[in-house]
Amino acid sequence: MSNWDILWSSYDVFLSGFYNTLKLFGLSAVLAFLMGSAMVFLLEGSRPRLKVPLRIFIDGMRMLPFLILAYLLYYGLPSAGIRMSAWTAGIIALVIYHGAYFAEILRGCRATFAQGQVEAAIAQGFSQPQMFMRIILPQLILKTRGLLGNQLIILLKDTAFLVIITVRELTAAASSLSSTYFIPMEAFIVVIGFYWLISIGLELFIKMIGRFGAKRGFENA
């Protein structure tokens, strides 16, 4: 039996790792994006008390390695009496960390936004949340699509760090298969192929948004 045959016989291990990575990625990408958008919304207009704490949080996250945050949640918090599973800690770390990055990307673009459009929406009687959801956010997404896409790929790659805090994702699958059968080369080639595939998928998705934006005259920022 060749090494590849051995791998094929345990394709279910790969598939479950792949599925777990996709689940981690999908769930935390959506939540992190919502969190980032919510932070930018909170930075809108007349909430000066929130500005400083949000700024500190966003900059703080951007100065930390992702793994140290995961360590903090999984290994550190139990000594403060907060205990959670590796999976939960992993998701929360991904959401908080990348939420801050998404917030920074959107905030940077918001700062260059033409005020006139906002005034036009105010003059038409839009409420703050409506205006943010319907006028501001769609444009921020169209303008920052390239940066958002890069961030999504970084998020995908950060899911692999969670193998270190024992989450059973894709890299964990390769690692356990290679130690069971001692065929690391083949196992990791398959897994890297999976990551590549998801990345290419993400790039296509961003291109689609790009076409949507180009039709409306939005340059890629």
């Binding site: 100065m63 903090l72 290994y75 790659k157 692999a160 193998v163 270190i164 690391p184 998801i198």
Partner: protein, 213 residues
């Protein structure tokens, strides 16, 4: 945390810094070479390098570190953990640096070449004296930014047992039974390192914007 814990932490920080430092140094130069090869558009090589860059950018550092460390022995190579870590970080950062250099090349004005050749410079002198200094300045902010990313990705080498600034917190808490203080202390040290790089990046940006005028 007592002084021996701090001592371990500083050792961890040092490991992170020297391993990342070597990878960054090699990565910046290799990135430049790959960018040059790609700008030259040599058939086959161009496509191969393109595939490398695309793969390296899509592969998580943790996965790459494990791949290199576990695969080397099967090919009869005995890799020390630190070397495996350096190779993985270098392969990763080189790909990103190559793209930063390449975009600087692509944005470089063609007129300067004509002006240089017209006054009798050889292409090599033109490259070394005119093009490279300017491209280095315009690339620097991106390169420094990528250095921050590499430091933030460097804890990946913990997965093969290198005791870096992240993994050392496990070692300390194995003795003290309280992981929270060393993790927080490590976080502060990372913030110091990254904020230094962010400051350097701002300096580089100022310099680059002066050149743009």
């Amino acid at each position: 945390m007592d002084s021996s814990a701090w001592g371990l932490l500083i050792q961890g920080a040092w490991t992170t810094l020297w391993i990342s430092g070597i990878s960054i140094a090699i990565g910046v130069v290799m990135g430049l070479l790959i960018a040059l090869l790609r700008v030259a558009k040599i058939p086959v090589l161009h496509q191969l390098l393109g595939v490398y860059i695309s793969l390296a950018r899509a592969t998580p550092l943790v996965t790459l570190v494990l791949f290199i460390f576990l695969t080397a022995p099967t090919m009869g190579i005995n890799l020390n953990r630190n070397v495996a870590g350096i190779i993985a970080l270098t392969l990763n950062t080189t790909a990103f640096n190559a793209e930063i250099w390449r975009s600087a090349f692509n944005n470089f004005s063609k007129e300067q070449r004509e002006a240089a050749l017209a006054i009798g410079m050889t292409p090599w002198v033109y490259f070394r004296r005119i093009m490279l200094p300017q491209i280095t300045i315009t690339s620097l902010p991106g390169l420094v930014n990528e250095m921050s990313f590499l430091i933030k990705g460097s804890p990946a080498i913990a997965v093969i047992g290198v005791v870096d600034l992240t993994r050392v917190t496990n070692r300390i808490s194995a003795v003290t039974y309280d992981p929270l203080p060393p993790i927080l202390a490590a976080a502060v040290l990372y913030m110091l390192i990254i904020s230094l790089l962010v400051w350097l990046q701002r300096l580089a940006e100022r310099k680059a914007s002066r050149l743009a005028v």
